[in-house]
């Protein structure tokens, strides 16, 4: 009965349900790396760098990557203190209160992810559909997916793919993600090798050739691009810091990875979560730096910045997004290899797509289990498919995608999509900072209770540091025109989403009270004595 095989050497364990051996940090790393997603999110975020040309993009990636280790320690700490809690909603609602937890999580993990469907679709178009169509010489398809109808179509593809992943269940999705990660890594390695062994002049001639063949851009398209989007670059420090809020589009999500914490586990599981999340963050940041250096070497830094700048300005000889995967494919020359390469790189997108609905369905479930939302939203089929929660994601995403694609101003309303997620993270971060005082019994019983910095709990130190990062980004987004998200209509729209969440909370709370079930019972602590 008794054994020590499943645990540490400092206690004796018996055989009992649920006692597991340690989990693999590598697995945790894979899923965290996928959440940050250098290829899908990073390359898109980097394309905004020309808007602050006097900052150093590479230095900004390094600084943000290093600083966001605070985020990984904060989330690893929350997991260690309240394992199996299920994420931001539970942490915030238990520490700061049910209303705050509900409003922040429902807005940041449910409502806002309806709006991420067309954003994912935009990435699908830019990184996969348009490059593939161009390489296959399907000019009509390129035009289609570059337009409003194409964006709506891609949104529906994203919604369907994400729904299928959720329907298949976590077991299958975890395997799909792993396959996509390894496939994507192969693509990334090939990309690095091609960039490493290609010269700038070789790229220039390849670009000119392919721009002519694929997009009908005559003459020296390479030089024309530089002329169209040329910016004066520099490496000043403050502008470098101001690039970081752009990068948050990609590097803020290491906490979406595996967050496991076993029973009868100690500080080692805490460290494992840090290793997995911070490892993924630092690896991805390092890979980003390598890629950017190789872009500078092979594409030419002026060209890389100019291509992005020209694209966003709607100028230049080539009208499609300068997706580096497509630019590298151009070097390959062979159409078959080009298509295979872009298809392999698309695994970064398809392995990640499920995230648009997956976390949301969990939040919907958690709020339903707390009886804030009605019971029916947590219904599943006999096969365990959370169809009600899935429909609550899928159905609203359709008209929102439609309005995003065809509406005159709607796209500007969703500019604050990252901002809303950051506010949700800020809620968890504040919860983490005050946790040692708000929930002293739970905190003191945790394996991290002994970690202090100058007498201050480590969780408080790291969460204040991470909170500072979030506040910096929020202030930048709200008050600096450069980011293009401080649009009044967008802010009002987001406030309406928060108001709907608040109304839902108050309404269901009153309803439950009328039914004789006070929702205070959900969070109230029972006295021990």
């Amino acid at each position: 009965m008794a054994n020590n095989a499943a645990g540490s050497d400092d206690l004796f364990q018996r055989k009992a349900t649920g006692l597991l051996r340690g989990w693999s940090v590598w697995d945790g790393f894979i899923y965290a790396a996928f959440s940050i997603n250098l290829i899908t999110l990073g390359l898109y975020a980097f394309s905004f760098a020309p808007f602050i040309p006097t900052g150093s993009l590479i230095l900004a990636v390094i600084l943000a990557g290093l600083y966001l280790v605070f985020q990984t320690v904060t989330y690893a700490s929350l997991i260690a203190v309240m394992p199996r809690a299920g994420g931001d909603y539970v942490w915030t609602s238990r520490v700061l209160g049910g209303g705050i937890g509900f409003v922040l999580a429902v807005t940041g993990w449910w409502f806002i992810l309806w709006h991420w469907v067309p954003i994912y679709a935009d990435l699908l178009n830019k990184d996969v559909l348009v490059p593939l169509a161009a390489l296959l010489n399907l000019d009509g398809t390129v035009t289609f997916f570059s337009g409003a109808t194409g964006l709506f179509t891609a949104s529906m593809i994203v919604a369907v793919v994400a729904s299928v992943y959720v329907s298949l269940g976590m077991r299958t999705y975890a395997r799909i993600q792993k396959f996509c990660f390894y496939g994507g890594l192969v693509g990334l390695a090939v990309m690095i090798l091609i960039l490493l062994f290609s010269s700038q002049s070789g790229f220039e001639s390849a670009y000119n050739r392919e721009a002519q063949e694929l997009f009908g851009a005559g003459g020296n398209a390479y030089q024309q691009t530089i002329q169209a989007g040329s910016v004066e670059t520099a490496n000043a420090f403050i502008p470098t810091l101001l690039l970081i809020p752009f990068l948050a589009f990609f590097n803020l999500y290491s906490n979406w990875g595996a967050t496991l914490y076993g029973e009868v586990r100690g500080a080692s599981d805490f460290r494992k979560n840090i290793y997995a999340m911070a490892g993924a963050l630092l690896f991805t940041s390092a890979a980003a730096v390598v890629l950017l250096l190789l872009f500078a070497k092979t594409f030419g830094w002026d060209f890389y910045y100019a291509a992005n700048n020209a694209f966003w300005a709607g100028e230049g000889p080539v009208s499609v997004f300068p997706y580096p995967g497509l630019l590298v494919a151009m070097i390959l020359g062979n159409p078959v290899l080009q298509v295979i390469f872009v298809a392999v790189m698309s695994l970064w997108f398809f392995g990640w797509t499920g995230s648009v609905f997956l976390s949301s369905t969990r939040v919907v479930f958690a709020t339903a289990f707390d009886r804030v939302l009605p019971e029916w939203v947590s219904r599943t089929t006999n096969n365990g498919v959370p169809y009600a929660a899935l429909l609550l994601m899928l159905i609203p995403s359709i008209p929102i995608s439609y309005m995003f694609a065809f509406g005159e101003n709607f796209a500007t309303y969703v500019l604050d999509a990252v901002l809303v997620i950051a506010i949700t993270f800020l809620g968890s971060t504040v919860s983490a900072a005050v946790l040692p005082w708000r929930k002293p019994d739970i905190y003191n019983a945790s394996p991290i209770a002994r970690y202090n910095v100058l007498g201050i709990p480590l969780i408080t130190v790291t969460s204040v540091a991470f909170g500072g990062f979030l506040v910096f980004c929020l202030l930048a987004w709200l008050f600096n025109d450069t980011y293009g998200v401080n649009v009044g209509s967008s802010l009002i729209y987001m406030l309406i989403l928060y108001a709907i969440a608040l109304a839902l909370y108050v309404g269901f709370r009153l309803l439950r009270r009328a039914q004789g079930m006070d929702l205070n019972m959900v969070y109230d602590e029972i006295p021990e004595e």
């Binding site: 009965m1 008794a2 540490s8 400092d10 206690l11 004796f12 018996r14 055989k15 009992a16 349900t17 649920g18 006692l19 597991l20 051996r21 989990w23 697995d27 894979i30 899923y31 203190v81 309240m82 394992p83 199996r84 809690a85 269940g169 976590m170 077991r171 975890a174 395997r175 993600q177 595996a258 967050t259 496991l260 076993g262 029973e263 586990r265 100690g266 080692s268 289990f369 707390d370 009886r371 019971e375 947590s378 006999n382 365990g384 019994d441 019983a445 394996p447 439950r512 039914q515 004789g516 079930m517 929702l519 019972m521 959900v522 109230d524 602590e525 029972i526 006295p527 021990e528 004595e529």
Partner: protein, 324 residues
């Protein structure tokens, strides 16, 4: 329908918690939960016993040391040792004082460790039953406890000897107009625990028990430790042959019992109470039956539970999952 939605007719209020695994804090909270939630029926599902022994080793001259959660601690007086023992109990582990010689023997001898586990587990349950008898004396609270697959059989005898706690395992028990059948037996697990068996045998066991119920479904409760298969209340991390979570714990698989699922489908009780899978907190419906697994956070000293108002109608509508 609208009037029922807002109905505040007096109900039978039940508080259910499960899988406290030796946590002294959770047991103390459980004893207070009836008063706290204004529930006069209290049900504790299975797996009351802890999973780990924590040695506190004497170094001589009044000094001791121990390691908890991989943090080594040293103590210089009795008060410090006692405080540490309390923190160990709080997490559901059993502290015991020892010396280096005995530690060497324990490390080498599995039988000796088993003996110590038995002594600590059964001693704790016995003490807990005394606490319950004192706590519920003079109250109208009815408390039912049924051990789970992780609890050895001797636990039943100790619970049976309590005055104010009723052993529910394998029986039909009554409160008000309701009848409840309970069992801590589960389908097979990778841990080869005390109360587990093949699905066919479990189905037979459940059939024998449920056939003794004489109340209509709307006044019947199944308290089966093991959750129904594929209900979402049985989702656990998939593990490999070395008992390691696959895919960083992201691969989730159903591990519940098909026999339990079939029994609920057939009997359609108003309420089915489950535990066993700590991370699978939630509620679902199988037909009209409300199935609940409140989950467990025993190591954190949080008593996860469910408050359910039973009104004798076919569908239980009023309930809430708690984290007290």
């Amino acid at each position: 329908m609208i009037s029922r939605l807002f109905s505040r007719e007096p109900d039978t209020r039940v508080f259910f918690a499960t899988d406290i695994h030796g946590s002294e804090t959770c047991w103390r909270k459980f004893l207070n939960s009836g008063k706290h939630y204004e529930a006069n029926i209290m049900i504790l599902g299975g797996d009351m016993t802890g999973k780990a022994l924590v040695p506190i080793v004497e170094e001589g001259k009044g000094r001791w040391h121990s390691t908890l959660l991989e943090n080594r601690r040293e103590f210089e007086n009795e008060d410090e040792v006692k405080e540490f023992e309390d923190s160990v109990k709080r997490r559901g582990y059993y502290p015991f004082r020892t010396d280096p010689d005995e530690m060497s023997e324990l490390e080498a001898d599995e039988d000796l460790r088993n003996e110590l586990f038995y002594k600590e587990m059964l001693g704790t349950i016995e003490r807990w039953m005394h606490m319950a008898d004192e706590k519920f004396e003079g109250t109208d609270i009815e408390c039912f406890v049924s051990p789970g697959n992780d609890d050895q059989f001797e636990v039943d005898e100790i619970i049976s000897s309590a005055k104010r706690v009723q052993l529910a395992e394998g029986k039909v028990v009554e409160f008000g107009d309701f009848q409840m059948v309970s069992t801590g037996w589960s389908n097979r697990t990778p841990w080869d625990t005390y109360r587990e068996e093949d699905e066919d045998d479990l189905a037979e066991r459940l059939k024998k028990m449920t056939s003794q119920v004489t109340t209509p479904p709307e006044k019947t409760i199944y308290n089966f430790h093991c959750p129904p298969y594929g209900s979402g209340l049985d989702d656990a991390p998939e593990i490999d042959e070395n008992m390691r979570p696959k895919h960083g714990g992201r691969s989730i698989v159903p591990v519940g019992s098909t026999a339990v699922r079939d029994a609920i489908k057939e009997g359609q009780p108003a309420l089915a109470l489950h535990g066993h899978i700590h991370e699978a907190k939630g509620n679902t419906r199988i037909g009209n039956t409300l199935c609940i697994n409140p989950g467990s956070s025993y190591e954190q000293g949080q008593l996860l539970g469910a408050v359910v108002n039973l009104d004798g109608k076919s569908k239980v509508k009023r309930f809430v999952l708690t984290s007290g």
